[in-house]
């Protein structure tokens, strides 16, 4: 079985790997590049734990073939914090206790960041529907939704 050579950009840096054509982007990120912040919760696009940005669009990395990443731009949770500084969403999640076990948290953060970039002033319903593809089994979502709404307000300077 010959492997596919893929050259891509991950969190702003050029990345290269060899992969089987059956491998998903999630497999490649985790197993080829050692970026294990994106989690596999279902491998069917139903839980959102592997949410990443793919050429500027929010996607589940488990539903993208690794080979598709050639020449594309991938952004993962590992690239969310600046140098020595957390993203405001990350800070707010910590401040409000918006995580328990934490395994869904990277996916929520990537998805929430995408939301605020597109809609800086979402209401509660918009946040809930935008994040409906991210399953959390611990928190009942309450503190997560609050954290996103409060971060949005902070970023708007309110």
């Amino acid at each position: 079985m010959s492997l596919q050579h893929v050259t891509t950009t991950v969190n702003g840096d050029r990345a290269e790997f060899l992969c089987d054509t059956m491998e998903t982007l999630l497999d490649a990120l985790r197993d080829r590049l050692g970026l294990t912040g994106s989690k596999e919760g279902c491998a069917s696009g139903d839980c959102g734990a592997c949410s990443v940005m793919f050429d500027g669009r929010l996607v589940c990395a488990c539903l993208v073939l690794a080979a598709e990443a050639d020449g594309r731009k991938v952004e993962t949770i590992e690239g969310m914090a600046g140098t020595g500084e957390l993203h405001p969403l990350q800070t707010k999640f910590l401040e409000l206790g918006a995580l328990q076990c934490g395994v869904c948290t990277p996916g929520f953060l990537v998805a929430a960041k995408a939301l605020l970039e597109e809609n800086p002033d979402p209401d509660e319903t918009e946040v809930r529907y935008w994040l409906a593809g991210n399953l959390c089994r611990c928190t009942g979502y309450d503190k997560i939704i609050r954290a996103v709404l409060e971060t949005a307000a902070d970023l708007r300077g309110q």
Binding site: T36, G97, Q100, G102, C138, K143
Partner: protein
């Protein structure tokens, strides 16, 4: 236990909401969970699972798989030692190891669809998958049964041909699928019903739910030639994993070191082993590290969901709403092995109420489904569904407010509980009053809307715990715990250590140590950790203080009785102790090397004194009368926490339990076809609530201190999932004017009930 205390009520740090010590790693993706470890030369392990609900395994031929290039190990039932029905139990395992060993790998029969029958380790996932296809099994398919009531009928297919019901006098002569019968009796049931003015009776059914943790089971095993092995896995209890694996594989406890990874949710489902013994065997056979992860589909088919149940209950009450009698039959299936939580369910259902006459019959039933594991307050939500629904029916019949009805019957300190002992200090009445007085009850339900109220109870427990508190020379403190942190317990332990040591919270860090670093720790579960690990952390911190007092006294050359611990400093106890400047915590820490070496405290305890926890939930919802769809509009969870150490994570437990309970009530279920095959082993059709399904979940933390803990802590994790099935059912029933008696209350079921309404 040697720790002497009076429960304190004023705190400096406890009750605040600082960020958790493990938080930054979790928001940046650095935290390592079960599937995140990679080792050099690591193999991939995969399990072959039964496609049949019930089948005898006549032969297993692995020769074609072994011949496939890249396959490094293949294990089947033949590779497991026979531990015998009594087994040699080392360590603190409480599960029946004979059953666990057979659940991990099928022996003569596959007992459910998904039951493991063989496993391989190979150089890649693709090769491992290919190898599974090359294992040839000769099956003799047998009749199966997956429904609890059908399994109890005479003539039902027998899951275990030789199972004789325990607990019956005289013992039955014929085998059946009833593993155990238990009867719980108090008072005079006939007199109780004779005294009743109103009697309600119903049969209720609940379908099995899965814990639904987002992280599938995963582990990495590495066995070396000298018989020593290491295991990394996501678990609620790595000491129990060590004990179970060692016993199943015939190893010494000291030869197996288990490290718990970060854990992506458990809710009781990660209290046993599935992959771990198999991975150890594959590693032993191949001489290489082996990683195994379950797919989501395997999690549903082959880990441990909760029981499905069938409950017939009858409650009598006087005209003024005093409960006089309750009799009930609880039928819980525990999957393919004995051990459903029927007994807990039965006592938890009635525990909140002062009912003098009780007669409960409990049946633990086996069926061709995966072995049930614990799920948050095991057994209690289903029983509460039945009991709290009947109380709602009584409230409707007598036209009494449902909170008022419960207040009239609520257990108080000194009441005798249905499971025996007299209640100590409890906060049920306080919870009911807080719910009654909450502003969210002021809104009157609109058309097609209604409000449902239900209560819940969980006894909580303590258990064995070892904690070490190490003081560094710079005055920072490290707490080593042996209880995996599922929901923020490291933050709570740091708060309690900081409170005792009177140092800033930021100066305390906590880790989960592996099995070689601490004495035995019971599993994280039963809502025990904040109570028991908290007790141990406090005890260990007090030993640190004792040592610090001795060191300061020695430096001052005065008697240790002449110093006191005050505001994070050691001071002379009075004028005649001499004139010494107080020594701060940091100063004594800095002097440690020169005053006798490292300062540490440790505590190895068996925590007792767990305080029972009660909750009252209020659910407002709307039913679409044309489609049967339910929209939850408002939800209030009131619960006694004793003392909330870190209120964010207490609220989080309430909200999380509510969300799981709402999911179970409305949509979550195991759906079996007539072929005994699970039809919805994925998050698409096993419908756990998504963010847009739920409203904000209001919480009220009631604090009636538990006298069994120095800070008054009660466990909080289990109780919040007990009331929601009933709270939702009571609301739906009131909205449509028809009593709902089955979960899930899916749109088709509600529409059918509406169509049947008079």
């Amino acid at each position: 236990m040697e720790l002497e205390f009076t429960t304190r009520t004023t705190f400096d740090k406890v009750g605040t909401r600082p960020p958790r010590p493990d938080g930054t790693d979790k928001v940046t993706g650095r935290a390592l969970y079960g599937a995140d470890l990679a080792g050099a030369d690591m193999l991939v392990g995969k399990v072959l699972r039964s496609p049949h609900a019930h089948a005898r395994i006549l032969a297993i031929d692995t020769s074609r798989a072994r011949a496939l290039p890249g396959v490094k190990a293949v294990v089947t039932r033949d590779d497991f030692p026979d531990i015998g029905p009594e087994g040699t139990v080392k360590g603190e395992v409480e599960e029946n190891l004979w059953d666990v060993a057979r659940n991990v790998m099928a022996r003569d029969k596959a007992l459910y669809e998904g039951h493991a029958v063989a496993a391989v380790a190979a150089t890649s996932t693709a090769v491992a998958r290919q190898a599974l296809k090359l294992i040839d099994i000769t099956w003799q398919v047998l009749p199966h049964v997956t429904d609890v009531d059908e399994a109890m009928r005479p003539g039902a297919p027998l899951v275990h041909e030789d199972m004789i019901t325990a607990g019956m006098d005289p013992a039955p002569e014929e085998p059946s699928n009833i593993a155990e019968y238990t009867r719980i009796e108090m008072g005079d049931i006939e007199a109780g019903f004779a005294a009743a003015d109103v009697v309600v009776e119903q049969t209720f059914r609940t379908e099995a739910a899965h814990q639904g943790y987002i992280e599938p089971h995963a582990c990495v095993a590495s066995a070396s030639e000298d018989g020593v092995a290491e295991l990394w896995c996501c678990t609620q209890g790595h000491f129990s994993v060590r004990d179970m694996c060692a016993n199943i594989l015939g190893m010494d406890l000291a030869s197996l070191r288990v490290t718990s990874s970060e854990i992506g949710g458990g809710f009781g489902g990660k209290t046993t082993v599935f992959l771990e013994p198999v991975a150890l065997l594959l590693s032993r056979q191949s001489g290489r590290p082996v990683k195994m992860t379950m797919s989501r589909d395997e999690v549903f088919r082959a880990s441990g969901p909760t029981s499905s149940t069938s409950i017939t209950a009858r409650i009598g009450a006087t005209r003024d709403g005093r409960i006089t009698a309750c009799d009930a039959s609880f039928r819980y299936q525990g999957g393919a092995f004995a051990g459903s939580p029927v007994g807990y369910g039965a006592v938890c259902g009635m525990a909140p109420y002062d009912c003098p006459n009780v007669d409960l019959h409990c049946y633990d039933v086996v069926v061709n489904r995966p072995k049930a594991a614990a799920y948050r307050a095991p057994g209690a939500p289903m029983a509460a569904f039945a009991i709290e629904s009947l109380l709602d029916e009584i409230a409707c019949k007598l036209d009494i407010d449902p909170v008022e009805l419960r207040l009239r019957n609520a257990v108080k300190e000194g009441a005798s509980s249905v499971y025996g002992p007299t209640f100590g200090t409890i906060g049920f009445v306080e919870c009911l009053e807080a719910a009654r007085d909450h502003p969210s009850l002021e809104a009157a339900p609109g058309p097609n809307q209604a409000r449902g109220i239900a209560a819940g109870f969980w006894p909580n427990y303590g258990g064995q715990t070892s904690v070490t508190v190490n003081v560094n020379n710079d005055g920072t403190v490290l707490v080593s715990l042996g209880t995996p942190d599922i929901g923020g317990s490291r933050a709570s332990m740091c708060l309690m250590a900081a409170e005792e040591l009177q140092i800033p919270y930021e100066r305390v860090k906590a880790i989960i140590a592996d099995t070689s670093a601490l004495g035995h720790n019971d599993t994280t579960g039963g809502s025990r950790v904040t109570h028991s690990a908290g007790l141990a952390t406090i005890a260990a911190s007090r030993k640190v203080i004792d040592t610090m007092k001795r060191r300061a006294a020695a430096v001052w050359d005065i008697d240790v009785d002449a110093v006191v611990w005050d505001q994070g400093c050691v001071r002379p106890s009075g004028a005649n102790a001499g004139d010494h400047e107080p020594l701060t915590f940091d100063a004594i820490a800095a002097m440690a090397p020169a005053t006798g070496g490292p300062i540490a405290g440790h505590a190895e305890i068996n925590a007792e004194g767990a305080g029972a926890s009660f909750a009252v939930h209020v659910c407002d919802l709307e039913v679409d009368p044309e489609t049967g769809r339910v929209t939850v509009l408002r939800y209030l969870a009131v619960q006694d926490a004793g003392k909330a150490i870190h209120p964010d994570y207490v609220e989080g437990q309430y909200q999380g339990g509510v969300a799981q309970g709402i999911g179970w009530a409305l949509n979550e279920e195991y759906i079996y076809g007539s072929d005994g095959i699970l039809q919805n082993p994925g998050f698409l059709d096993y419908r756990i609530p998504v963010a847009s399904d739920l409203p904000m979940i209001d919480t009220v933390i009631v604090e009636v201190p538990n006298p069994g803990h120095p800070y008054g802590v009660r466990g909080v994790g289990e109780t919040p999932i007990v009331p929601p099935l009933a709270a939702v059912a009571n609301a739906v029933s009131r909205a449509i004017g028809q009593r709902m008696t089955e979960t899930p209350m899916s749109p088709p079921r509600i529409l059918a009930a509406i169509d049947q309404a008079p």
